[in-house]
């Protein structure tokens, strides 16, 4: 075999390995390739989300609870992709009476799988202009997204939300 052929085979092997590494990594981390290949619509079909608000037993926010709520949408400025979901405000109000919620009340949204946590004041959550929404994903989970300053980028959003906590003052 000539050196040229060996070099070409070497290049193919290295390029192939590099492509495999990038593809596996993208699939693992839900990257572009994962999103391109994965079929399915964005639907809240995952587990119910516990909403803790000082009582012994948390309330649950399930897909059946979400169904009657009005959906809101905005366009993600980074990827120019529409984000549609239910207002976090409406989800919270299903569990806690409005009278109990003061402007200083804190709403914590967490994702244990992603190791993310966002703490918002009720004033920000209840302001409809902030569009703090729980948007369903292709994986059937919910992600917290918003246009509010400080929470308007994907890195700040909370994907795979699995807990909401209301901290009453």
């Amino acid at each position: 075999m000539s050196t040229m052929k060996r070099v070409i085979i070497g290049i193919i092997i290295i390029a192939g390995l590099a492509a495999i590494i990038l593809a596996v990594d993208s699939m693992r981390r839900g990257g572009t390739l994962y999103r391109t290949l994965r079929d399915g619509s964005e639907k809240f079909s995952g587990e119910c989300i516990p909403v803790r608000h000082g009582t012994a037993k948390p309330s649950l926010f399930c897909s059946a609870d979400a169904a009657p709520l009005a959906k809101k949408r905005f366009v993600d400025k980074a990827e120019n992709k529409p984000q549609e979901g239910w207002l976090l405000r409406d989800a919270v109000l299903l569990s806690v009476r409005a009278a109990k919620l003061k402007p200083g009340t804190l709403v914590r949204v967490t994702s244990s799988s992603r190791g993310k946590r966002v703490e918002l004041s009720w004033k920000d959550v209840s302001d409809e202009a902030n569009l703090v929404i729980l948007a369903p994903t292709k994986q059937g989970t919910l992600k917290l997204a918003s246009v509010m300053k400080g929470l308007d980028t994907r890195t700040k959003w909370v994907q795979d939300v699995d807990g909401i906590e209301i901290v009453l003052p």
């Binding site: 050196t3 060996r6 070099v7 085979i9 070497g10 290049i11 092997i13 290295i14 390995l17 590099a18 590494i21 990038l22 990594d25 993208s26 693992r28």
Partner: protein, 181 residues
């Protein structure tokens, strides 16, 4: 009496190359915020070692020995086992590539062998980071960028190694080595 695979002189040389890799890792720092930039030194040394001791397994032995030394010195960011395996795999990868490419004095062959060796090291780190669930520096930087960095600096190391080998050949080093064998 059966002939030994590596002569004592060759083993000395390989041990010196291994020590040189560890010293290069500790002492030589490039002001580059790119992952894998130290590969420019050690892949050059591994390629040189593979030609100076023209036996299959020479690069692997250099990798393994430098891995043992580096593990004892506490180098690396994911513990001693990761350091040992990743250093060793850089040598094993270069050896495997040279099985196909054969001539480390050929620039293209040396570049590809060094790229493959460095890619093997990258894969070890990547697999360890997946198993440990801990984000390694290069993952935080972005996988594609980190992978590109490793391939680029591996290639530059291979180029540096091949150019050094050519200079050594011109200076008559390999003729001298034939006599020392």
């Amino acid at each position: 009496m059966t002939a030994r695979y590596f002569s004592t002189f060759q083993l000395f040389l390989l041990a010196l190359f291994a020590a040189l890799i560890v010293v290069a890792k500790i002492a030589l720092h490039l002001p580059l915020q790119l992952s894998g930039h130290s590969g420019i030194f050690w892949m050059a040394i591994i390629i040189i070692a593979a030609r100076v001791v023209p036996r299959r397994g020479a690069a692997s032995l250099v990798g393994l020995t430098s891995g043992i030394m580096a593990a004892f010195l506490g180098l690396g960011d994911l513990g001693a086992l990761n350091t040992l395996i990743s250093y060793a795999m850089a040598g094993v990868g270069a050896d495997l590539a040279l099985l196909l490419l054969r001539d480390p004095e050929n620039i293209a062959c040396a570049v590809l062998a060094a790229m493959f060796g460095h890619l093997c090291k990258f894969m070890v780190k990547w697999v360890f980071s997946m198993m440990a669930g801990a984000p390694v520096g290069f993952v935080a930087l972005g996988m594609a960028k980190a992978l590109f960095g490793y391939l680029l600096f591996g290639a530059l190391g291979g180029l540096l190694g091949a150019l050094t080998l050519r200079a050594l050949a011109k200076a008559g080093f390999f003729t001298y080595m034939q006599e020392k064998k």
